[in-house]
């Protein structure tokens, strides 16, 4: 039960929602602008696990009387054909065979809201790989009067699109999910904990950092409040304001349940030195995965313009090392080392 409370999935329960006040206000402002018969669209830019879906859930709840179509992209649709098929499937029974018919359909009838999450799946980093994303932006431009487009994208894909296809020109309102501060992260975790009904105890032996500076300190605050403070400082230094990562590290630190009490131990120090010594192919693979979220072997081969056999080898080696996780033939970066991968790619001058 306790684990379920910290499951990494978008929030349905508004009581758990924390922060994002400015972002919510901006979103409402963009919607109101469109509602006043203006051309308007909005994009939510956030790191994976930063709470974009939860924010959208809140928005949908606030506007449940509107005509809302919502979809979270998980698979690739990077060609014009795939793009048309996607919209055809999204609006069943409307025979949207091509771009023109989709534009006509959306410009007719009742005003609607279309929410598309993870639009980075509309492209593949290969020649002609921008076809679908360009079509989507064109569709947004041509239908923004009748449709309030609310799209979500990962931070790194946004940065890439800004520099390649100047995405900012096509979408009027940009909402960037700012990092949560330490206090907000604590509140977010404690809100869920309180619901569990368990008591909480920070383990004095394991919660302290056994580093040089700590050992040099003359006194250590061993009170529960002191231990809690040092635990959350450490947790935030690992998670760096990423909600999913914070929840994940919290769960990993729950070492035991004794007499209705959850014992929280030291955050497992994940060593990632091995990431810095990865070969160039692996580093570039991680970069591509960061931009695309997930890739199949075929997609990886297309990105690196190489044989599928080579791609399979690269992805399997990374999976064996625990860096990647494979699900239904799609490879993605292990959430546990997501932050470290970002740091390595930054050091390699691949992301900025």
């Amino acid at each position: 039960m306790y684990r379920r409370l910290y499951e990494i999935k978008p929030l349905e329960e508004e009581g758990f929602f924390e922060g994002r006040i400015k972002e919510s206000a901006k979103l409402e402002e963009a919607f109101n602008h469109w509602n006043e018969s203006n051309i308007s669209s909005a994009i939510i830019v956030g790191e994976k696990g930063s709470g974009a879906s939860s924010l959208l859930n809140k928005f949908v709840k606030n506007h449940n009387d509107s005509n809302i179509t919502r979809h979270q992209m998980t698979t690739l649709a990077c060609t014009a054909e795939e793009f048309s098929l996607f919209f055809d499937a999204l609006f069943e029974d409307n025979k949207l065979r091509d771009f023109e018919s989709t534009v006509n359909f959306l410009n007719k009838g009742r005003k609607r809201i279309i929410i598309l999450e993870d639009i980075q799946h509309f492209y593949l980093k290969k020649p002609n790989g921008f076809e679908a994303i360009n079509l989507l932006l064109e569709l947004i431009s041509q239908t923004a009067k009748n449709v309030f487009w609310l799209v979500g994208i990962s931070t790194f894909s946004w940065n890439y699109f800004e520099k390649t296809i100047a995405i900012e020109r096509f979408i009027r309102h940009k909402i960037i999910l700012s990092p949560l501060n330490e206090e907000q992260i604590v509140t977010l975790i404690m809100k869920r904990h309180r619901v569990s009904g368990y008591d909480l105890k920070f383990d004095a032996n394991q919660s302290q950092r056994k580093d040089l500076f700590t050992s040099l300190r003359k006194t250590t605050d061993n009170s529960q409040e002191g231990l809690k403070k040092s635990f959350f400082t450490e947790l935030n230094s690992f998670a760096q304001s990423n909600i999913s990562l914070a929840l994940l590290y919290w769960l990993h630190s729950a070492i035991s349940f004794e007499n209705n009490t959850v014992i929280i131990g030291k955050i497992k120090n994940i060593k990632f030195d091995f990431l810095t010594s990865l070969d160039a192919t692996s580093i570039f693979t991680l970069h591509s995965l960061l931009l695309h979220d997930n890739l199949s072997i075929t997609e990886h081969a297309a990105v690196f313009h190489q044989a599928e056999k080579q791609s399979r080898m690269t992805l399997m080696v990374l999976e064996d090392s625990g860096i990647l996780i494979s699900q239904n033939g799609e490879y993605t970066i292990n959430q546990l080392i997501y932050r470290q991968v970002v740091t390595v790619l930054r050091n390699k001058n691949l992301i900025h």
């Binding site: 980093k125 690196f304 390699k348």
Partner: protein, 367 residues
């Protein structure tokens, strides 16, 4: 040449020792020295007092009898020639025998300086310094290799570490092991410098060139530079030469004097990225707009691209075998200068494939 230089150094060293023997050094004047109220006062600087007093004493010592109540403190070490020292030795003790506390000291003979223990400890320091510098530079390089962004900045510290390390070692040997005084040291350095200067002008030119490179910083360790016909990554900036690794993985040593006197082209000036140009010849009837779009996209999707700087595609008209061609130049930046040629190749590969796929090249063009 080297032998002559060594000989000159040796002679100059001996000469400086000889000069040293003819001096009488009066030191340790921390105790008060009484001279006389008619010639000095407390406010006058130590140096002036010494000269004035010497002159006065030489002229007519009896007229300037020293009073026991007057006090002059000379703050710094006094050096006088034999002639002056004699006067001081004779007169001051006569006038104020109790108060004269200055000691005379003669310099250690040359044979004592070139003793086995001195040479042994000098060698120990030199070897120790060598390994210390080596370890420090290795640590810097290891840290540098972990980050593309900070690689060049960190590596640029290596030459300074080397120079400072060796300077400290030399000063330590001279002051700590041989115990040479400043006079001896300056005399030695001056004469040795003169001798070395005559004997090895080229070496000195290179050393000064090395120092100029470090001060002026036209490039740093890790930069990609072009000196004359040599192009590659700067591996090391030494005192004599600059070492460059070329694209064929050869290590080329270019004398610093040559580097300083040549035009040096620096591709990245301390940054991790640099511009790469891929050139492709196209038929004159090519649709340049389509070609430009394909080329731009090819650069954008390359794994090596650095997108914080612009991609430019240019077309030039060139004549080859009496036919007119377009020369397309795709200019883009690579995220790590070490991937410069891989990026160039990747861009060319993607562009060519797409041109063939989209029939930008006709069959007769590629046959």
């Amino acid at each position: 040449m080297k032998k002559i230089a060594l000989l000159l150094v040796f002679i100059s060293f001996g000469f400086s020792m000889q000069c040293q023997d003819s001096l009488t050094v009066v030191e340790d004047l921390s105790d008060p020295l009484y001279i006389g109220n008619s010639i000095v006062s407390k406010e006058v600087k130590a140096d002036t007092m010494r000269i004035d007093s010497t002159k006065e004493i030489t002229k007519n010592p009896k007229q300037i009898a020293v009073s026991d109540t007057q006090q002059v403190i000379i703050f710094d070490t006094v050096r006088v020639t034999v002639e002056k020292a004699k006067i001081t030795d004779e007169l001051i003790p006569t006038l104020i025998p109790k108060a004269y506390t200055a000691k005379k000291k003669t310099v250690t003979p040359l044979s004592d300086i070139i003793a086995f223990s001195n040479i042994f400890w000098s060698l120990v320091i030199l070897i120790g310094t060598y390994f210390f510098i080596k370890i420090l530079v290795t640590i810097i390089e290891r840290f540098a290799e972990k980050s593309t962004n900070y690689r060049i900045t960190l590596k640029s510290l290596s030459p300074f570490v080397k120079i400072i390390g060796w300077l400290v070692a030399i000063v330590w040997i001279i002051e700590g092991v041989f115990g040479l005084s400043n006079d001896t040291l300056f005399a030695f350095l001056a004469s040795a410098g003169l001798a070395i200067g005559f004997a090895s002008q080229d070496i000195l030119k290179n050393i000064f060139g090395g120092v100029m490179i470090l001060i002026d910083k036209p490039f740093q360790v890790g930069d990609k530079i072009e000196v004359g016909a040599i192009y590659g990554e700067v591996k090391e900036i030494g005192l004599r030469s600059t070492r460059i690794i070329t694209k064929d993985d050869s290590l080329v040593s270019v004398p610093n004097a040559e580097v300083v006197n040549s035009a040096v082209s620096n591709s990245n000036t301390g940054e991790a990225n640099c511009q790469v140009v891929a050139e492709i010849y196209l038929p004159i009837d090519t649709d340049t707009n389509t070609a430009r779009l394909i080329a731009t996209e090819a650069a954008q999707v390359s794994r090596f691209i650095y997108l914080n700087k612009p991609i430019t595609v240019l077309f030039f008209n060139e004549l080859k075998e009496e036919r007119s061609y377009y020369k397309m130049r795709v200019k883009a930046y690579v995220s790590d200068i070490r991937n410069e040629f891989a990026f160039k190749s990747d861009m060319t590969e993607i562009i060519m494939k797409e041109f063939l796929k989209q029939s930008i090249f006709k069959k007769q063009d590629v046959q």
